[in-house]
Subunit: 376 residues, 2 copies
């Protein structure tokens, strides 16, 4: 049986990138290594749509989130936290460790924080120094309107800090044009690499804010990464084989063009949603994003058992809900090195399993709806 | 020309480990992934010679050092810092960021901190809560007597925190028997993997000390890693392809046997030193360790130019001195997936280049001395 990965991170990695990872290791302080880091950084700037250098940390995405907070927020400072799921809660927990005074704007799982909610929170908290938001809330499948958030925050002295870990590179996100001050992403989502690298962009407004904050981390202090990248270097021995491989995956994005890539993901996501509806299933998120489709487990169906069966019988590995959402949703990723034909197969596998567990679905309705949407 | 890596990190990686890195990415929360992490952790315990779980962080070695300090040391606490080079200074800089009250015991580059110096420092500072030391000071090539340090610190309430990044797996180091409370290492040295993972062991004495310290990091708080590893998991998405590959490199160490490995490295290092002496060169460290040989650049020779020439002409990549030591020493690594025949080639290349730059050496004296030592 052929294993196929549809979890919203890690995601499949292109063959040439995998083969790069099998090449002999080289020294990370050579001129050649610096040139590779510089090249990757330029391509990251393109993916982020920013003119600022993008910093590369050897860490999980959470390491990048930690770096954003410890570097930019002083203890006791007020931060507006927008949360719509597990990853918003991750911001909350990081803010807590660093002693920020978090003003929490929370919506139930599946909902989104609206620009109006943010506007109200900003008006009520003029002393807030930052807003923490999530581009793609991978735990529920919603996407936030970061463009609107950016417009609102740009009018204030606060900085906008964004978890773009599973959204960046899968849905439209224009870091500079949208005034996103700090954006964090990880290598293992839309950027088509195994986990291990976190990338962080920082605006001039954010750097100015950072100036007044005393260092609170050694390894995760963004200032060290900025200083190093100005010399095409990293402050600490980086995961340099991942950097070399990341460069190749980014070349794919360059070749496709970021706007084409956004459009392709949007179309694929729409087709997936059409298939879901045609199979008689419902979406979980009110404002779905293009990186993954999150489906409500229908009443009477054992959600976790369906996923296990799909993997065991057909090799398709989707993700279950996390924590309280376990068994209640199915999360199907279509970001990075996953194309429409891959997703079509996942829809077909889901149809077969639904039939097997006795959920009434006419064979072919899902794949037909998918095809129609793609042909439109 | 054939490139050959002799830098003291990264080091060469076995072929089967590299090929593992080229395999398709899998989901990190599956039962299979947990089993792999558990297996790797068992093998790490063997390499560390500890009964405590070894924690795996997705980070550079410095991330592990940061984690040790932020998790175990409260602000204002007194820490005795033993430093003999750049990596001791790394401890100093981390302690500074975290507000520790560091009592610095410093020796010039090339020298070692002796057990007597530590004994004096402990007697003068009975209120010290920790001692920071370095197993292999890679910047100068010295190895410290951690067994003696451990005996001294074990008699006190302080914990012994060790940077074992380039020493562990290349020279004798018995974490439990020597009473080393926190030991940090990295994947890219003797453990035969590319950079990207840091490993940290923590003794019961250290966990007790940690209990009273308030969290000061989110991503690098060792408590999170301990809690997760008890369920064969990681707190954050780990560099899981590196973990799968690390398992294979550790199997090699298991197969060889850790004591055989220490003996082989010691013999290879002794042969390398014999070759150095035979070529009329001098060692830089007073107490060389088995992971690398550090050679003084002889008077009248341009040290950096020799290294560039060796790489350009013969493909051998050695490391220059760092910062103030640049051009004054050559650092030749012989740890991990580097055997005596590899090192013999490096000696031969050095002989040829010395001749080329006019340093008087009889062709063959280095390699002969090396062979004699290996045959002894």
């Amino acid at each position: 049986m052929k294993p196929r990965l549809f979890t919203p991170g890690p995601t499949p990695v292109p063959e040439e990138t995998l083969l790069e990872l099998a090449k002999p290791v080289t020294y990370h302080r050579s001129a050649e290594s610096k040139a590779i880091l510089a090249e990757m950084t330029e391509d990251l700037k393109y993916v982020f749509q920013t003119a600022n250098p993008v910093l590369t940390l050897t860490a999980s995405g959470t390491g990048g989130m930690d770096a954003a907070i410890n570097t930019a927020i002083a203890p006791g400072e007020k931060v507006i936290l927008l949360t719509a799921g597990r990853w918003g809660e991750r911001w909350k927990n990081i803010l807590k460790v660093y002693g920020a005074n978090a003003v929490v704007v929370e919506v139930p799982y599946g909902q989104v924080v609206t620009p109006a909610m943010l506007e109200t929170a900003l008006a009520a908290n003029p002393d807030a120094v930052a807003v923490c938001a999530t581009l793609s809330e991978t735990s529920t499948g919603v996407g936030h309107d970061l463009e609107a958030f950016g417009k609102l925050v740009a009018k204030t002295n606060a900085i906008l800090i964004v978890d773009g870990i599973s959204g960046l590179g899968a849905m439209e996100c224009r870091v500079d044009a949208w005034h996103l001050d700090i954006v964090v992403t990880g290598s293992q989502k839309a950027l088509m690499l195994p986990p291990g690298l976190a990338f962080v962009s920082v605006s001039d407004k954010a750097w100015k804010k950072i100036e007044a904050v005393a260092p609170r981390s050694f390894y995760l202090d963004l200032r060290r990464y900025k200083k190093a990248i100005l010399e095409s270097d990293t402050p600490f021995t980086p995961a340099n084989t991942l950097i070399k491989a990341q460069r190749l995956s980014l070349k794919r994005i360059r070749a496709e063009g970021i706007e084409n890539l956004w459009a392709r993901h949007a179309k694929m996501a729409a087709a997936c949603r059409a298939a879901v509806a045609a199979m008689g299933l419902e979406l979980f998120p009110v404002r779905p994003n293009s990186g993954l489709t999150v489906i409500k487990v229908p009443a009477g169906v054992d959600g976790s058992a369906v996923l296990k069966k799909m993997e065991k019988t057909h090799g398709y590995k989707l993700a279950d809900g996390q924590d309280a959402m376990k068994g209640t949703i199915w999360r199907l990723s279509h970001m990075g090195y996953t194309d429409a034909f891959d997703v079509l197969g996942a829809v077909a596998a889901l149809e077969l399993i639904l039939l097997e567990v006795g959920f009434p679905v006419t064979p072919g309705v899902g794949v037909t709806a998918f095809q129609k949407a793609m042909a439109a």
